[in-house]
């Protein structure tokens, strides 16, 4: 857990290399920034990939136990969710850099990863609702929750990323982000327990 070492090299040897409470607080602060997106640069300045990793793993775990364990036409496997999220984030970052964006590679990954938080919350809510029942009413509740969280995710990441893009190309950069969260929302919505 060498995160703390990267950022304070002179005192690297002096600090312990354990995952400190300070790092947990940093991750938590970023979660709060995502849920209430203002144009602050905290997310961008001190990027880290722990939060996205935690979110990705929890989302992938919650998407397991779906309608098929190893049958052909089931839901996504753990590895598939992982690959989609990380590969999708990398492709979107490359896209925005190729279009002339000024954001750095890992900063963009950090933002996109953290903005999966609303969708993870939506997944949690969906699983709880599905515990209660799986009729039409539960489907409508799930639909509303997923749509709301999808909009939140997209708006949050756009709020953080849009400023670093050249002015005439903002829509070109925002659209892939929209598509990315749409796919994740689709996976969440179509989750059906066995």
């Amino acid at each position: 857990m060498r995160v703390s070492c990267w950022r304070s090299l002179p005192t690297c040897g002096l600090q312990s290399t354990l995952f400190q409470l300070r790092d947990l607080k940093a991750v938590g602060k970023k979660f709060v920034h995502v849920m209430y997106p203002k144009k602050s640069s905290a997310l961008l300045r001190d990027w880290d990939l722990w939060g996205p990793l935690v979110l990705c793993v929890s989302l992938a775990l919650m998407l397991q136990g779906g309608s098929a364990d190893s049958k052909e036409d089931g839901g996504p496997q753990f590895a598939e969710v992982f690959v989609i999220i990380w590969f999708g984030a990398v492709v979107i970052t490359l896209n925005s850099k190729l279009l002339g964006g000024t954001i750095s590679f890992f900063q963009s990954l950090c933002v996109l990863g953290y903005c999966v938080l609303p969708l993870t919350v939506a997944m949690l809510v969906c699983r709880l609702v599905l515990l209660a029942g799986s009729g039409t009413v539960s489907f409508i509740i799930r639909l509303i929750v997923v749509i709301a969280m999808f909009a939140w995710s997209t708006l949050a990441s756009t709020a953080f990323l849009a400023d670093s893009q050249p002015p005439h190309r903002k829509a070109l950069v925002v659209y892939p982000i929209f598509l990315f969260y749409f796919v994740i929302s689709w996976m969440i919505l179509t989750f059906t327990p066995q």
Binding site: G75, N95, R169, T190, T192
Partner: protein, 437 residues
């Protein structure tokens, strides 16, 4: 000696040549070596020509070319080139004319001036040393050093097209002359022309740098939207590549349109199957996530491998037959990518579980996107052997149709579903099984 050639679409090319005997190959290679001109000469073999003479294309076929004029390099004539208003197509706006003038300007030998204005094509105008009265709106300037330049180089009939920057620098300094206001104010606002001329080649970064790949994403939002609009509403007779792509092929459109199409097909297929099977008691909804990877493989393979094959084929035929129009690989990828856009709304509408509706939609979208492809590639193959040209076009359309039929068949279940056969015990003790197809 400079030779003027224009195609049926009235684009002008100025060629240096020491004799009047030029071949198609030379014209084409000169066109290719000057990418900023972005012209496609549609004329072929020329023998000795005179101004205003008509030149017939080799192999016949429509679209004759006209020689519009020439400049002699001999010092005593110092003729001026008359470009006239025929240089541009009738619908070209005025800044296009100025743009063509700017691009041609650097080809003109120092000491000669390119004049734009109203004059008859092929008209020979004498310079300030001579004799003929100019047309009123033509502007002349003093050639201070023309004589010295020509004296130093009396037989200079070739220009270095390979080094446009040098010639352009000379032109650039001359551009400040007061006689050029009309063109200057039209050109001064168009920075892209100047930067292109100054840069020489467009994609000059080596392929291992990031900047090289950035040149493929050099599009703005409105350009992408224009290209999408052009693919959905194909104008008959207008070439998608010439009209929209225009030597700025991008990879953004093809990549993201394919990605959107993959997910549109997968999601719509899943939804449509859900609605079709909804009433069945034994149906259990599955998200069918495997199909996403299958859709992705198919669509990306189609959108990238078929252009590769087509490009290879066109290059091969080009070397044999000297086709007039040749596209770069990226332009072909661009056309294919944007032509797939119309399948996105089609895939969404395929959720409607009616067979007739689906087939009508498919034929409609096939016509739209197929016509974009046909209108793009027909000029590239029509000079070829008739059979090969028709076979090429047929293959393009067939592959396109196969893609859409395959997607419809694989991802979308048929609306009439097989119900399991109910066993109805007949009166006589025999079992009657009815099956609904």
């Amino acid at each position: 000696m400079y030779l003027f050639v224009a195609s049926g679409k009235s684009i002008i090319m100025v060629l240096p040549t020491t004799t009047l005997r030029v071949t198609c190959k030379r014209i084409r290679s000169l066109c290719r070596s000057t990418p900023m001109l972005n012209m496609v000469p549609e004329v072929c073999l020329l023998q000795s020509v005179t101004a205003g003479a008509k030149v017939v294309r080799r192999g016949g076929g429509g679209g004759n070319a006209h020689v519009f004029g020439w400049i002699s390099a001999s010092p005593q004539n110092d003729l001026h080139l008359c470009m006239g208003s025929i240089a541009c197509s009738c619908t070209a706006p005025i800044h296009t004319r100025a743009r063509i003038a700017a691009r041609l300007r650097f080809l003109v030998q120092p000491g000669y001036e390119l004049l734009t204005g109203g004059c008859r094509p092929g008209e020979l105008l004498r310079g300030p040393s001579g004799r003929m009265a100019a047309v009123d709106d033509l502007k002349f300037r003093e050639f201070d050093d023309a004589a010295t330049l020509l004296a130093a180089n009396p037989d200079a009939t070739t220009i270095s097209i390979d080094e446009p920057t040098e010639a352009h620098k000379k032109q650039h300094s001359r551009r400040q002359e007061p006689g050029r206001e009309e063109d200057d104010e039209l050109l001064g606002t168009d920075d892209s022309d100047k930067t292109e001329l100054l840069a020489g080649q467009k994609k000059s970064a080596p392929f291992w740098t990031f900047e090289y790949y950035q040149t493929f994403f050099d599009v703005d939002t409105y350009q992408v939207l224009d290209r999408i609009k052009g693919s959905v509403f194909p104008v008959p007779g207008r070439n998608f590549v010439r009209l929209y792509v225009r030597s700025n092929p991008d990879l953004y459109g093809p990549f993201w349109i394919c990605a959107t199409l993959v997910f549109a097909i997968a999601v719509s297929g899943n939804l449509s199957n859900f609605f079709i099977h909804l009433g069945r008691p034994t149906y259990h909804y599955v998200p069918e996530f495997r199909k996403v990877s299958i859709a992705a493989t198919t669509i990306y393979a189609y959108a990238w491998l078929v252009p590769l094959a087509l490009w290879g084929f066109l290059m091969w035929r080009n070397s044999k037959v000297m086709n007039i129009v040749s596209y770069s690989f990226l332009e072909i990828v661009c056309v294919y990518g944007y032509s797939l856009f119309v399948y996105i709304p089609t895939a969404i509408l395929w959720i409607i579980p009616q067979k007739v509706v689906r087939w009508v939609l498919m034929i409609f979208s096939l016509c739209l996107s197929g016509s974009v492809l046909v209108m793009t590639f027909w000029p590239a193959v029509r000079d070829d052997n008739r059979r090969i040209a028709l076979a090429t076009m047929g293959t393009i359309v067939l592959l396109h149709a196969l893609l859409s039929v395959g997607c419809l068949a694989y991802f979308f279940d048929a609306p009439e579903v097989d119900f399991p056969a109910p066993i109805i015990p007949a009166h006589n003790g025999t079992t009657l099984i009815t099956k609904v197809k």
